[in-house]
Amino acid sequence: MEKPLTKYITPGSPPPDLKEYSRIGGYASAHKALKEMSPAEITSLVKASNLLGRGGAGFPTGLKWSFVPMGENSPKPKYLICNADEMEPGTFKDRYLMEGNPHQLIEGMIISSYAIQAEKAYIFIRWAYKKAEKELRKALAEAYAAGYLGKNILGSGFDLDIYIHSSAGRYICGEETALFNSLEGKRAIPRTKPPFAAISGLFGKPTIVNNVETLVWIPHIIERGAEWFKNLSMTGAGGTKLYGVSGRVKNPGLWELPLGTTLREVIEEHAGGMLDGYKFRGVIPGGISTDFMLEKHMDVNMDFSNVGAVGSRLGTGTMIILDDKTCPVAFIHNIEKFFALESCGWCTPCREGLAWVEKLLASIEEGTGKMEYLDILKFHTKYLCFGNTFCAHAPGAAEPLQSGLEYFHDDFVQHINGKKCPWRS
């Protein structure tokens, strides 16, 4: 089984430096792309590979790039932003990639920037990722020194600077338009769309935002081609995926597996199954803004469309498992508390709605809840849908809530009727 993204990552050892990275074939794709390929050819290749964005929404990367105005008269400068905010609870895949192989990301960014002719690129990194930031800075310096960054890269006439920006440490900063405001030094609130980022993004200029795990694919696709990429996955979606599991399993961790690996294989084979004495009750499959999946979904192929078909989302592919010794109400309360706190406060349904949801859940968990609260919670799962709210934050928060209310209904009722949490002594 091929593991193109993580092959050279050895946790605990330093990441490959420029010399080592070059030795194992690094920057060959940058040479190839900048010297032999036109920007349009790269975009077509990425389109043909069907690389779906790994930031959570699975938007086709090549298609996104194709919206960027190109040519002599296109606005200048254009920007590429690597979204490395990774504030999604349970998610640590980007961190792994940045700490483990920073040059892989930088090379991906160089080629991607070239494809959209961006002269400036930012790595917008979670403030807490100090180690990743340090490794990236070291790698950037090496890349500059070697002429992979700066003016007239590899004699191609293409200029690129990459800057690292440590995020302010709020979840909403990862939403790409709030990210623009944050980078511009404004309040991190999302922006009105349209205009879309490819037309008017950072500083009003054409901008592409991609997730770390999306960008690291680019050198590999340049090197091995679209067909190779497609064949990596179990299903048609293409590529491998970093799947992570946390919770009461024997072997929590992160694995690069073919996209579309079944839930069962991830949990039972790679995570080693549940710890002795714990039973599986459900899993949040891709960061906390996705709907629960249950035992009955164990054989679902974990890719964007198949997970979507059972009412959840692949999201970031990093799962959190709910076991039988953990209270589902407390579990969901914890999730909603996070969302309520991380609401940017711009739109009313999210700002007031999530705060209320959090209080209702806390009250039920404390044993002071009423049956009507379930109706109010249910109402919010519908009311907090996309379109009613300004951005996808609150709709994301509504997902685990709505499936949790459905799947763990009896637990909620037990809390309310018994006036206490059955998991607490």
Binding site: T192, P195, C347, P349, R351, E352
Partner: protein, 910 residues
């Protein structure tokens, strides 16, 4: 685009309506009279989609039965669009949004200052939320002390972000923002302190809840529905913003902005809003005062007949009477004085400098073909050049209009990109810091510098020089004059080129800067621009609310009255609403008073002039009288009384009518009411002939009734005087206007000039004004009130002014001094109020560090300056934007003597 294409048909809840392309759906619906609840949208601030209250349902086509929810404020209208406001899903979302904001909102409307005039109350009722399901504790905040104008009560906040957007984006304020996040977002300053912006008071109207409320009203609070209101015009500068003034128990309780699409739009400045407190001041003159002997104290007389009888002698035919008018008195009051004394004895109560400059301005506006813009037109300018005048302090709302003008370039760029003009943040994000160019040439840093493309600092001669250079570059006939400094020449070329390429270039200058050279240079630029561009505009800030009206009346400058006094004896000197110590030196006033056998003052307040004369006659302020003011563009606007006169207070023109009766000795009153007075004025002075067509006369009726000053909800009429007499008092009559001191009358909207308050069913807050407009941000239904009496004519025949620059030879210890105006302090009437007083600076002089070093002055030192033989003491403030050799001195602040600036002065330590 032709007009046909601009009109689109939309289907709303099964009915078809027409609206214009380019609007969003919320705007279109509000204009059609369809109620959609909303918070964050404001016509002047555009849409941002934050509150989510304006949800409606949109259907793809006639077959789509399911539809999808949209925010109406974010949806452009399109031909054939099908929407539903009444749809159950949409209604449920609107109710849920209200339920959400109400989870934390205090449930104490009865003690809230906003209550009864609250957009949140209206929206709660309109959206249909009433049953509370939220069981938990409410969020609470700490309030801030925001100074003497505005009260802060953050618990009432519903996080609509209007305040922040108004304060930062619209007026360019820096010291108010949104802090924190999630459901703890806070709107305020970084610490306690007065809000710095000159337009902060508009927060009272912009905020849909009781967070920001009027602190001056709080001092004598009254329920909004208990106010008796009148349409009025601000008396605190020459811009002439429209206001609503409100009374209860014979005192003036507050001032709000009155929409006028051509003048102030939705807003007014803080001087206009909070400057009213002088009306209720204890220094108000309420009864006539008399002093028999020059050395005696004035005694109050309560019988006005007594005063009139005692004056019979003074006004007999054989007496030499001189009248001194005022730029802060109405046109009618000035005219009545002119009638009393005759044209040859009527003097404008202003300095010669002000008189000459104002006349120059008026003559130019009359004779040239350069457009004098309304504020609305100023907002359309695409290049602005400001010469010498600190408009933020002398004509505040003009400055706010210029702040909107800089958005024309970004707006044009956004339009090209297909971003609609109401779509606030996409425009700002796409265009970032792009601005239409504004060039500012002043002696010292300016409040508008933050929007300027280039600023220029120098002496008045430098500023005039720059103006002359720009003028000569634009004037094909003139030989190009080169400035000695390369930088300055480059700047002149840049400005000239910008102005030349502009579609709507605007030159702004003013009389307040006191410099004829600057004024002439500005006028010359406008002439040169006009040659090639009929859209060229010129705006001149004048000193006071009726400077223009006074200038349009025949009369001579005050200085001439003083020269007469030095040669001959004046029997009776009548001074109308004027403190002469603010107009000329103490020595001059002394001469005038000594040479006058009897000095009579008609005024509102005890001041230096009124405290030291033989007879003081109590006259109404703007709040207690009808009158016409002519603003700096030549627009005549009428104000109406909100307070019925009591004690012996009467309108100046009414008192003067009595005096004319004495003078004529035939017992005939020249006018019985305001309409007769205006007729007389119009007959005698044809320049004012349009005045008669302008406003409905007092006999105007709607459905046989006068227009009520009070809302239907007015309470306590039968009880409010019960402590005096239990029977209900007769409603006071008003023979001077079509307004009644009553809540009884027609329910329809009065003519636009006579709207005493805004109210339409369901809309009790100021947002009701939307229903009085033909289009949001557009004109009032029936046209914006006011009529232009001074209008540029078609031909361009003005000839260039010859400018002779005179250089001043400075002595040792001497510096050039130019005046600094303070929005709070430099205007007489507003400065008498407590709220404004808190914001008045101590008299000051700005000096650059180099000059200060030469004199060995330090920041905050008290120093002495001798100007034209009179000495003043001032506090030094070091300000390095000043050019060396130029000092800037505060003028007209309370306690300061008259100084005729610009001038030069000798500086010394105290």
């Amino acid at each position: 685009m032709s007009l046909e294409i601009m009109i689109v048909k939309i289907r709303i809840d099964g009915k078809y309506y027409e609206t214009k392309l380019g609007k969003n759906l919320l705007e279109a619906c509000l204009e059609l009279g369809l109620n959609i609840p909303h918070f964050c949208y404001h016509p002047a601030l555009g849409s941002v989609g934050a509150c989510r209250l304006c949800a409606v349902k949109r259907f793809k086509d006639a077959d789509d039965k399911k539809g999808h929810i949209i925010m109406s404020c974010m949806e452009p209208v399109t031909e054939g669009m099908i929407i539903s406001i009444e749809d159950a899903d949409a209604s449920a979302i609107r109710a849920a949004v209200i339920e959400g904001v109400m989870t934390n909102h205090p449930h104490d409307c009865p003690v809230c200052d906003e209550g009864g005039e609250c957009h949140l109350q209206d929206m709660t009722v309109m959206a249909g939320h009433n049953y509370r399901r939220f069981d938990f504790k409410k969020r609470t905040y700490k309030d801030q002390d925001l100074g003497s104008f505005i009260n802060h009560e953050m618990n009432r906040c519903i996080q609509c972000y209007r305040c922040m957007r108004f304060y930062r984006d619209y007026v360019g304020g820096k010291d108010l923002n949104a802090f924190a996040a999630h459901n703890y977002v806070y709107f305020g300053r970084h610490e306690n302190g007065a809000l710095e912006s000159e337009f902060s008071g508009n927060l009272v109207e912009v905020c849909p809840t009781g967070v920001f409320t009027d602190k001056t009203l709080k001092k004598h609070f009254t329920r909004k529905w208990d106010l008796s209101n009148a349409p009025s015009v601000c008396v605190h500068c020459s811009v002439g913003c429209n206001t609503i003034v409100s009374e209860r128990y014979d005192s003036l309780r507050r001032i709000m902005s009155r929409y006028n699409g051509a003048v102030n739009g939705y807003f007014i400045c803080d001087r206009g809003r909070f400057g009213y407190e002088f009306v209720n001041d204890e220094k108000r003159i309420r009864n006539p005062k008399i002093r028999i002997n020059k050395n005696e104290k004035q005694e109050e007389v309560s019988e006005n007949n007594l005063i009139l009888t005692s004056l019979t002698e003074s006004f007999s035919k054989d007496k030499k009477i001189i009248g001194i008018g005022s730029p802060r008195a109405s046109l009618e009051s000035n005219y009545s004085l002119l009638s009393l004394v005759g044209q040859e004895n009527f003097y404008h109560g202003i300095s010669k400098r002000e008189y000459n400059l104002t006349k120059t301005a008026l003559d130019f506006l009359r004779s040239s073909s350069v457009k004098t813009p309304s504020l609305k037109q100023i907002e359309k300018a695409d290049v602005v050049f400001i010469l010498g005048e600190d408009i933020t302090n002398t004509a505040p709302m003009t400055a706010l209009a210029v702040r909107q003008a800089v958005r024309n370039k970004p707006k044009a760029a956004a339009t090209e990109k297909g971003i609609p003009l109401w779509n606030e943040y996409p425009i700002r994000n796409y265009t970032q810091d792009s601005k239409s160019p504004v060039f500012i040439a002043t002696a010292i840093k300016d409040r508008l510098d933050d929007i300027a493309e280039k600023t220029f600092r120098g002496s008045n001669a430098d500023i005039a020089g720059l103006g002359i250079a720009v003028g000569s570059l634009l004037n094909d006939e003139a030989s190009t004059l080169k400035l000695s400094s390369n930088d300055q020449q480059e700047l002149a070329e840049k400005i000239a080129l910008s102005l030349k390429n502009a579609k709507h270039p605007l030159i702004i200058t003013g009389v307040n800067c006191g410099d004829e050279e600057i004024l002439h240079a500005a006028l010359n630029i406008s002439i040169a621009l006009r040659k090639n561009n009929p859209e060229a505009m010129l705006s001149i800030a004048l000193p006071e609310c009726n400077s223009m009206g006074l200038a349009m009346l025949p009369g001579k400058p005050l200085d001439e009255a003083i020269s007469i006094a030095s040669n001959e004896i004046i029997d009776t000197l009548v001074i109308l609403e004027n403190d002469l110590y603010r107009r000329t030196t103490k020595e001059s006033v002394d001469v005038l008073f000594e040479k006058s056998k009897q000095v009579i003052v008609l005024d509102h307040l005890i001041n230096k002039t009124s405290q030291d004369v033989d007879i003081v006659i109590p006259v109404s302020t703007f709040a207690e009288s009808e009158g016409t003011l002519i603003n700096n563009e030549g627009r005549a606007q009428r104000y109406y009384k909100a307070i019925n006169n009591k004690d012996e207070v009467k309108e100046s023109w009414r008192w003067i009518g009595d005096l004319i009766k004495l003078r004529n000795n035939d017992q005939s009153i020249p006018w019985n009411n305001f309409d007769e007075l205006v007729s007389s004025l119009v007959n005698e002075l044809p320049a004012f002939s349009k005045l008669k067509e302008y406003m409905p006369d007092a006999d105007f009726r709607m459905y046989n009734a006068k227009i009520p000053r009070q809302s239907l909800r007015y309470s306590g009429r039968t009880a409010m005087n019960a402590n005096i007499a239990v029977s209900e008092q007769k409603v006071a009559e008003d023979n001077d206007s079509p307004l009644a001191f009553s809540m009884e009358g027609q329910g329809e909207q009065p003519p636009s000039s006579l709207v005493p308050f805004y109210w339409t069913p369901g809309w009790n807050s100021v947002q009701a004004s939307n229903n009085y407009l033909d289009e949001l941000n557009g004109s009032l239904k029936g046209g914006d009130p006011g009529i232009r009496l001074v209008e540029s004519n078609g031909e361009n025949k003005s000839s260039y002014f010859k400018i002779d620059s005179h250089t001043v030879d400075l002595q040792k210890n001497e510096l050039l001094i130019v005046p600094a105006y303070s929005i709070f302090g430099s205007e007489e009437l507003s400065s008498a109020g407590e709220a404004i007083k808190q914001r008045i600076p101590e008299p000051f002089v700005y000096l650059c560090e180099k000059d200060a070093d030469i004199f060995e002055f330090k920041d905050n030192d008290m120093i002495t300056i001798e100007i034209a033989k009179s000495k003043i003491e001032l506090k030094v403030i070091i300000e390095n934007s000043l050019k060396q050799g130029v000092a800037v001195v505060s003028v007209n602040l309370p306690g300061m003597p008259f100084i005729d600036l610009p001038a030069s002065g000798i500086f010394s330590k105290m």
